[in-house]
Symmetry: C2
Subunit: 349 residues, 2 copies
DNA sequence: TGACAAAATTGGAACGTTCCAATTATCTTG
DNA sequence: CAAGATAATTGGAACGTTCCAATTTTGTCA
């Protein structure tokens, strides 16, 4: 049944008007008479017509395709799933539909999916770039006038907008809180040093220490993979230092969980014997034991904002690069422990 | 710069051949001479040509759009994020790209996004239907010959393929395990009774009890929203019974977590004083305290299988409804406790 | 080399829409 | 009611590709 599809011409025929009029009705033009509009709409419903955006798009400007692309580096990370939901909310209600692709940190895969999306005529792209993404990878996109908004990570040298969380301020607040609790040997654990996010967070750590008139010891900065296993490795190394840290800020929550694991392996109780602060506030942070003190970044809100920024650029027809930093806030839970002087009083006196 | 785009005609011109030949090269036809192919490909690279699938699609059959749709009811649930990743893996490597949309359980939203996807010419759809989805909602899809694969949930009466997990067997195994530990008053907690998933799991619960020659008490079946809050409410009601249960199988992991919360509110220790088993094996299940005993369903694998099934139907050009049930397995952790007779021995003797 | 087959290439129509310029219908108003 | 203004409608070209049938080129062999 219904093998060959219904076109605007079929509608025109059935409604006794021209295809041009039907087209006008389709785009809700004020030029068409109310009665005609009603009749045409009725026929459209009756015949089960479905609009062919491909055909429309062929005639119109590329930027009216009503498709945006979103590519993330790790959708299994709930941070990005939330981000995607935020994006989806605003693009859906703007009548857009989103291509979503996962790169799993592979730049090759990323190149492929971006190429594929271009072929399909996306009118904009939201990208959380895979590690190692080069500015040249984005060059053709911006050259052809497709707005791009980078989220979470930046790619240096690319003339595109970006929306990243305030890594510097977040880490600074975390360190300040620990100092306020009485810690002065605070480690910075985890993360790959060759990323912009790492540099920003590290700088926040350093600045906070300086502000509080504490020395910055490079030995206390231990990089590792930004994963649970990486966290275990990092705390192992930190505990080998002749003068041990009493607290740590971690590159992200996954590292923080690993650090807790590593501490327990050394018969140390995270939150009691050692203070730990993470970054991201993933869902598990609040249910873990001890509940993780961390920096919350509201991924869904970031997704919404990224989408709004992108739509703004699409509608403006031109995309002047704009860099937005999204504010973050410290969420205090159990893993950072109570003030250290209480414990010192107990154990030393 | 580069405002107007490069078309197949520009390529033809530059390479000194006709547009037909370029088209042949584009689709890797064996009809074209090697030397010509090489020359054309070189020009394509030089001019930075990007294939316009919209235009191609206009001429070709609808089912060659290389776009599939995937719509889920809750992407913030990591189960669905994993599922989407599984789908993405196989469609990506088949040269497809996926529209992903989140309905947040709204059938209106679902209707909108499916309509939108149709307009864009998807060649197939993977759908985890929102609650209350009617077979009529899918009718136009299948009428126009677009293959649909339902995942996780079925919609009765719809002539589409489905891939669901073995709810009956999963719940049966859970109950058997609890009976094996010595429980005989086992509650079934959470879930909306008007869903197929609920019926299947409940039936598994009932059949297991019958098989083990235990009575089925309807009072022990307490439905609720399939959420953490719902779980709290359900266990509250169950604890009011004159003859309390000593264990519970839960509709899903979220409910199970709520049940644990509720137990603690009553000074009962989940895993010690009361056995709890969930369903789904979400990521948090292994890190929670106590770690949740649950039924594992491998969402990523389901995503892969669903995508394979869909691609098969797209390529076959016809979609005879196929119902696949994906096997599940019990993962024993702490929340179901040790065998009850040990505890009884301690407390009673 | 002539005749035929096979290989390679080609122009034009078609896909379903939008847009423009042009036409026709309807309304105002003196 | 004529005539100008405005409202409503319309045919045809265009978008970038694929497909078909036809044509040209190249190869084979007696």
């Amino acid at each position: 049944m219904g093998k060959e599809r219904v076109t605007v011409i079929d509608i025109a025929h059935a409604a006794g008007v021209s295809k041009s009029t039907v087209s006008l009705v389709l785009q809700a033009s004020p030029l068409v008479n109310e009665a005609t509009r009603a009749k045409v709409n009725a026929v459209i419903r009756d015949l089960g017509y479905v609009y062919n955006r491909g055909a429309a798009n062929l005639r119109q400007s590329n930027s009216k395709s009503k498709i945006i692309g979103i590519v993330v580096n790790d959708l299994t990370n709930s941070f990005f799933a939330e981000l995607a939901v935020g994006v989806d909310m605003v693009v859906q209600s703007a009548g857009y539909v989103q291509f979503l692709a996962n790169t799993a940190e592979s730049v090759d895969r990323q190149r492929e999916v971006i190429a594929s999306m271009r072929e399909h005529g996306i009118s904009g792209l939201i990208l959380s770039p895979a590690r190692g993404t080069d500015a040249a990878d984005l060059k053709p996109l911006v050259a052809s006038g497709i707005p791009v908004v980078n989220v979470v990570r930046q790619v240096s040298g690319a003339k595109v907008s970006s929306l990243i969380s305030d890594n510097h301020a977040g880490m600074r607040d975390a360190v300040r809180h620990l100092v306020g609790l009485g810690h002065h040997r605070i480690a910075f654990l985890g993360g790959f040093p060759d990323t912009a996010v790492f540099s920003e967070r590290l700088q926040g750590y350093r600045d906070a220490l300086s502000d509080m008139d504490l020395a910055v010891h490079d030995e206390l900065v231990v990089s590792s993979a930004p994963s649970r296993a990486g966290g275990v490795a990092a705390i192992e190394r930190a505990l080998l230092l002749r003068e041990r840290p009493t607290a740590a800020v971690c590159f992200n929550d996954a590292v923080a969980f690993g650090v807790c694991d590593g501490l327990r392996a050394h018969r140390l109780d995270p939150g009691e014997d050692f203070a730990v602060i993470g970054f991201d506030d993933v869902i598990e942070a609040q249910t873990a034991v001890p509940a993780l003190t961390t920096i919350s970044v509201d991924p869904q809100g970031m997704g919404r904002r990224a989408a709004q920024l992108l739509l703004k650029q699409i509608n403006a027809g031109r995309a002047d690069a704009e860099a937005i930093v999204s504010s973050v806030r410290l969420v205090v839970r159990q893993s950072c422990g109570a003030a250290i002087d209480k414990r010192e009083r107990l154990s030393l006196l």
